[in-house]
């Protein structure tokens, strides 16, 4: 055994290398303040390992990325690993800050360790870019919106801006190449650059540390001369264990977040991650052409200023030097915290931002809920929400209908038109909705015909003549009639189940004493051309035809008030206001809005 080890050592010289590393002697001996460096290194190793494992499943394509990340999360081990990878990236940024400040405080950057300091500082922006390129890889709405803004920031750099932006995006805009480029940076270029810098950094650390030879005896009496291994290492491992414990706790409890898949048709107010909040806040104070001062000049100036520390720090007096360094540390930390705090406070007071964030959280939860039951097709996860009436209904309604119609009821987020000029469509086709229509008071209210040109038309007069309280007929009998007719029409709308005696009675009323068929067609009775068809009233196909062409003879003909033709031209779908899929989603939601979300 011994001979083999000797044989190896003769060739590799590993004993000397090992003793250079593990028999190092730290200034003032081992201590807790030195643990930040080692924790950073081991977190980096953990990031590389977890990252490699994630790479084995992740797919960097705009259509598949979200689905593959969701797929990773389906295995509890995968979810845990992704959680570790996510939270460790945040932990590394915190630790990096701590480490830099520690080195600054103790003045450990002084000669001959200038290169340790400079390579260390260069690692910081790389680390940031590393996390920034990692966040959009899931192709979530948040990640893509963030990289969009980050790309624009890059683009606003004078002279080279547009070129750099194009380089990052792989074109004018975010597209397939963007994700490939981000992936390349994240798992290819940055690991190589960071690895190289880390090597120089560590080589310099070791080179400039005093060490004891392997055969030296241990000086137990002087703690300052204790070696790195195991006296510093045990402290490092205790710190690391605590940090990894915290990270694992969050990774196990929450996993890494997975937000709603990116949809280029949606607007979203991205906020940078917490470590960039100071920059976000700083940017508020610059605008337009001077923005690059906040985003480029100031951070670069800070970095260069710090790098110059070993060369400008020539203060002889020990205490003055300590005081200067402390002032710098406190100023940096204070300025950073101040800007960060203002940014969060401002958002916390902005009701529109809070509402949008809450809505986005719901959207993300909905996407995950849908992914549990719905398959993700080759069109990608984006289709989960695009095919979901609950998600699309309110949006389509807000875009196409809300300028005239409201949609407000007890069980749904209220969509109220600012100047309603058409019926409130909440619950259209249900017994309640039709009952309101037939009510002599309510038909002329804002919820029905009150703001249309039919306000004083034949229909309103007919209903009022039929059902207004004139003292001749008992109101209970009238209400029974209204109820029966409403049920009969709800059966047409297929919101009411199979036939009941009420429905039969209602149908009879519609055809006879209700006088409906004088103007409306109802199955085999009445004519088209004077009022909308009551056959299949408010059913899916009826609504589809009405919305497509309200001025069709089956509906309002030339009496149509203001409603546009949403599907005017079957032959040219691209010229219609609504695609046939959109129309289906809107109708599905209108007929079933109960669990709707905004």
């Amino acid at each position: 055994m011994q001979s083999w080890v000797d044989w190896l050592d003769l060739r590799l010289d590993y004993r000397l290398i090992r003793s250079r590393i593990s028999n190092r002697i730290l200034p003032n001996g081992p201590g807790w303040v030195y643990t930040s460096a080692s924790c950073l290194l081991w977190l980096l190793v953990i990031q590389c390992i977890t990252g490699l494992l994630l790479m084995a499943t992740y797919c960097p394509s705009m259509t598949s990325a979200w689905a593959s990340v969701h797929f990773i999360d389906q295995s509890s081990a995968g979810r845990f690993l992704r959680g570790i990878h996510h939270y460790a990236s945040h932990a590394m940024i915190i630790l990096f800050g701590v480490h830099v400040l520690r080195v600054l405080c103790t003045g450990a950057y002084r000669a001959p360790r200038e290169l340790v300091w400079i390579t260390g500082l260069l690692l910081f922006p790389m680390m940031i870019v590393w996390t920034v390129t990692g966040n959009p890889l899931s192709v979530s709405q948040k990640g893509i919106a963030q990289i969009q803004v980050e790309g624009n920031i890059l683009g606003s750099t004078p002279v080279f801006g547009p070129f750099l932006r194009r380089l990052l995006f792989g074109g004018e805009d975010i597209g397939s190449l963007t994700l490939t480029r981000l992936y390349f940076l994240h798992v290819g270029l940055l690991p190589v650059l960071v690895g190289g810098l880390c090597f120089i950094h560590l080589q310099q650390v070791v080179k400039h540390s005093p060490f004891r030879l392997p055969d030296d005896t241990e000086p137990t009496s002087t703690p300052e001369l204790l070696t790195y291994w195991p006296y510093q290492s045990v402290r490092n491992m205790i710190s690391l264990a605590i940090i990894i414990g915290i990270i694992s706790f969050f990774a196990w409890k929450d996993g890494a977040p997975l937000y709603a898949p990116a949809d280029p048709n949606l607007a979203f107010s991205p906020r940078p991650e917490w470590y960039f909040r100071w920059l976000f806040e700083l940017r508020r104070h610059f605008s337009g052409n001077t923005e690059f001062i906040a985003t480029m000049v100031i951070p670069t100036a800070f970095l260069l200023g710090f790098m110059a520390a070993p060369f400008v720090d020539r203060i002889r007096s020990h205490w003055l030097a300590v005081a200067c360094r402390l002032v710098i540390v406190v100023a940096c930390l204070g300025g950073w915290s101040w800007l960060t705090m203002i940014s969060f406070l401002q958002d916390g007071q902005d009701p529109e931002y809070l509402a949008e964030t809450a809505e986005f959280e719901k959207l993300s939860a909905r996407a995950l809920e849908l992914a549990k039951t719905e398959p993700i097709t080759e069109k990608g996860a984006i289709e989960l929400l695009r095919r979901d009436p609950q998600t699309q209904g309110p949006r389509l309604f807000a875009r196409h209908c809300l300028s005239c119609h409201s949609h407000s009821g007890p069980k749904t987020p209220v969509l109220v038109a600012s100047e309603p000029s058409a019926p409130n469509l909440y619950g259209i086709g249900t017994v309640d909705w039709i009952t309101g229509f037939l009510d002599s008071e309510r038909i002329a209210s804002d919820d029905y015909f009150g703001r249309t040109k039919f306000r004083e038309g034949d229909m309103v007069q007919h209903i009022q003549g039929l059902f207004a309280d004139d003292g001749k007929e008992d109101s209970a009998v009238k209400n029974q009639k209204i109820h029966a007719m409403a049920i009969a029409l709800a059966v047409e709308a297929q919101t009411e189940g199979s036939d009941s005696p009420d429905a039969a009675k209602g149908r009879e009323l519609i055809k006879s004493s209700g006088g409906c068929t004088d103007c409306h067609r109802f199955h085999d009775q009445g004519e088209l051309g004077t009022a909308p068809d009551l056959t299949g009233y408010a059913s899916s196909s009826w609504l589809k035809q009405l919305i497509s062409k309200p001025s069709d003879t089956r509906f309002y003909g030339d009496r149509n008030d203001r409603m546009p033709e949403f599907v005017a031209d079957q032959g040219h779908p691209e010229l219609n206001l609504l695609s046939s899929q959109e129309l289906d989603l809107l109708i599905q939601w209108l007929r079933e809005p109960r669990t709707a979300m905004p």
Partner: protein, 191 residues
Amino acid sequence: MNRRELLEWVSRGLAAGVAALVGLPGISFFLGGTQQQSSAESQFSRLVKVKDLIPGRPTMVPVMGQKLDAWILSDRQAIGRVWLVREADGSLETGPAKQTVRALSSICPHMGCQVQLQSGGKNFVCPCHRASFGVGGQQLPDPKNGDRNIAPRDLDELECRLVCDDETGDNWVEIKYEKFRTGLDHRVAGV
């Protein structure tokens, strides 16, 4: 030059040649390999009928077109969005000459987010940094920011014309979609 120097230079030259053989195409590939095109730019695309726009109320309309995204060609992809604002007095019956529709790019000139219509429909606001614009696209003072608008310029107005379709007699809005660089106080085409 002695023999030693000659060999040194030959070695260096050959090494540089090998490096250039891989490096130059590498750099050219990495810096140049970007491909995105969309068909609707620099030509008029037909968006909506004038009568479908409600006077005085801005409507967001996607500009559809064919888009080549690196190696994927997609048909009918939204290549951009515009806000169409029909002047409040334009009546339905008059011909194209009597009506006015303005087209504003939905891209905020500040950082490129999508501007939204403020509830109430009286002005646009960008969700990112709350830059606000009137329905005509002009910058509005921001009271929260000392009356200074964070956007460097007004919303970009796009070339817009009204065309009468001879077959159906409908008046259509057509626009020429363009993108402009963000973050500048004047318009520069491109991204």
